[in-house]
Symmetry: C2
Subunit: 388 residues, 2 copies
């Protein structure tokens, strides 16, 4: 029985994780759940999974839930609650599925507890990749990617040596606007941007897919996770999302991992690695799929991709600024305050205006986190004021 | 320096092997070469690679070559020459690339020498799979597949456990007649049958691709190589031959190995496994490939596929009869004696008329080989007489 703590249990990855726990009741025990606000769903999850503790980030909602579930489980609150529940350490695997930069601090706590981290929160590596990788080594924590792309690469690398990698090929669906002209993007609506062709995901990541910043963040994530130079990380558009990503080796051979798009597969693998459990709910029938297509990404239309490579080159807190700006911009787009094409504009603005701490100027290891939190804060502050 | 003995060095796999040896002169040393008849090419190969010994199966040609290369290398002759050169044991890897059933006996000699066998001769496993797998275990010989399909499966299984395999998915180009009606097959010419859309290969295997018996033989080969029931071995038509085959695991995840079609890749891998060598001559550009397609195979048109599954079910010497009949039939087709559609007819005829030794009636282990040689002989004799 593996004990699992799910950060973000009412989100898309969280719900899929619980569905897996439901399918493997003799393998996984849910010991902790968290939500920002959704206490009605969290209450149902408590009824079903009987966790030892839950966190509600919103303090009022936490108090409300506390009265409802009194005696059934501990209810913590606030961001400090997220830190506390990870610090308690009574779990084997952390499913890190918070949205955005908020995932960083609690993930670090789990690393210090030497746990396996099933990492769905890509911002953790995007903003603090070097520190996170260092901490994992220092504490002996295991980082298993949950993103379907990184899981595909991780799986393709099983039994292979890092020095035999020629390049990573991240596949990208291209999102809902793959076939729109650059000029048409000016006028797309929130509803259109939220219609992902293949994946059912949360709103933030769905918008990131539409701008292709999601792939940009994944490039940065892969850079840290697999320790390769950015020139060895390519993107290819593959609208069907069947091939989840590929690795080309130095002998010219390419390995790939595939399946019908369903996040349960990479989540399950992150929980069971190096084992595989019998899970028959996801079927892939190639004869029915019939066709897989591939295109070069349009870097002129999807400028977020270019920005991601640029942020890696800049290094230091540049990826953190990129990420914070993107989070603010997506939020503003989702609340109708800016147009879709303003998302990359805001990010460019932030990257130009916010002081980027260079790697050379940052203290080594965990001490560097302060500057990352500072860059994150300043970026949010700047964009919130400027575009309020 | 790995010492390599190439059985069938003037054939397609042999030439590709020598091209690899040429590219890695500080890694591989060619110590032996063989050819049935082609002494002019073999002489050039001797000049270039300086093997210790060569075999020419045709005895007259062998004598002719002997006078030409006197003092440069030993020249053996006949099928006994093939056995002798493998028995000498002064090599690390045997590249088993003879065409057809002739590959079986010398491959067994190499197994007994406890060598690595880079197996391109699929008939070895098709006709005597159980015995070969048993001998490899007994002598501690290593069998690494060279067929692109089996190499793809082998590579996809690196680091994975056999019990987590759900099924193998062999890809098939469908050959030159994929889009012809069954009735049109009656009138296809030899030249048409020899035009493979993707792979440059020898004549025998190219005709096998046109009838899809090649895929049939590969099903049987996979059955022995990976030790799975036939129900777990599927075929999907994939005309571009980029995905060389796939493995579906019990969790629903699929792994695949891919590349532009070039036999040098699986040959190199069989030589270097578990390492990979830097080899940049084969490039795969997905954006340029643009499209991969998949279809169910038409078992009514390509009856050879059905026959292969049937032969596995029959067991004993049934696959041997199937293979011998196919070899005779292909030869007859290539020499203009029968029509293309008569190939499966001859095989069906042989499978009905030749006594199949059941597994239960065969002595265990190597002793069973006698009945395999007998079935092979009787099938050839029967079909040669009947359709002469």
């Amino acid at each position: 029985m593996k004990k699992i703590l799910v950060l973000g249990s009412t989100g898309s990855i969280g719900l899929n994780t619980l569905e897996i726990a439901r399918s493997f009741q003799n393998k996984f025990k849910i010991v902790g759940l968290t939500s920002n606000n959704n206490i009605s769903l969290l209450e149902k999850q408590i009824e079903e999974f009987h966790p030892e503790a839950v966190v509600v980030v919103n303090k009022e909602k936490a108090a409300e839930l506390k009265t409802k579930v009194a005696g059934k489980c501990a209810v913590l609150s606030g961001e400090e609650g997220l830190l506390e529940i990870t610090r308690r350490g009574n779990y084997d695997i952390l499913v890190s599925a918070l949205v955005g930069f908020a995932g960083l601090a609690p993930t670090i706590e789990a690393i210090k507890q030497k746990k396996r981290i099933a990492l769905a929160n890509k911002e953790t590596l995007v903003t603090a990749g070097e520190i996170i990788i260092g901490l994992c080594k220092e504490y002996g924590a295991e980082l298993i990617p949950v993103d379907s792309e990184h899981s595909a690469i991780f799986q393709s690398l099983i039994g292979e040596k890092k020095e035999t990698i020629n390049k990573l090929i991240l596949t990208a669906s291209g999102g809902p606007f793959l076939n729109k002209d650059k000029t048409e993007l000016e006028h797309v609506t929130i509803a259109e941007a939220l219609k992902h062709p293949n994946w059912k995901m949360g709103n933030k990541i769905t918008i990131d897919s539409a701008t292709m910043m999601n792939k940009g963040l994944e490039i940065i994530e892969a850079f840290w996770l697999f320790g390769l130079p950015k020139e060895k990380i390519e993107v290819v558009i593959h609208p069907q999302s069947i091939i989840h990503s590929m690795v080309e080796f130095i002998d010219g051979s390419i390995k790939a991992q595939m399946s019908s798009p369903d996040m349960k597969l990479p989540i399950l693998y992150a929980l069971t690695f190096p084992e595989r459990y019998n899970f028959s709910s996801v079927k892939t029938d190639f004869a029915r799929i019939n066709k897989l297509t591939f295109f070069e990404p349009d870097f002129d239309k999807f400028t977020c991709l270019k920005m991601a490579y640029h942020a890696i080159e800049e290094g230091g807190t540049a990826p953190c600024i990129l990420n914070a700006a993107n989070e603010v911009a997506v939020e503003k787009f989702l609340s109708g305050k800016i147009r879709f094409t303003q998302i990359p504009e805001l990010i460019t603005d932030a990257l130009e205006k916010i002081v980027c701490h260079k790697k050379a100027d940052m203290p080594a290891g965990e001490a560097g986190l302060d500057l990352i939190f500072e860059s994150d804060f300043k970026t949010r502050e700047y964009l919130t004021k400027k575009h309020s």
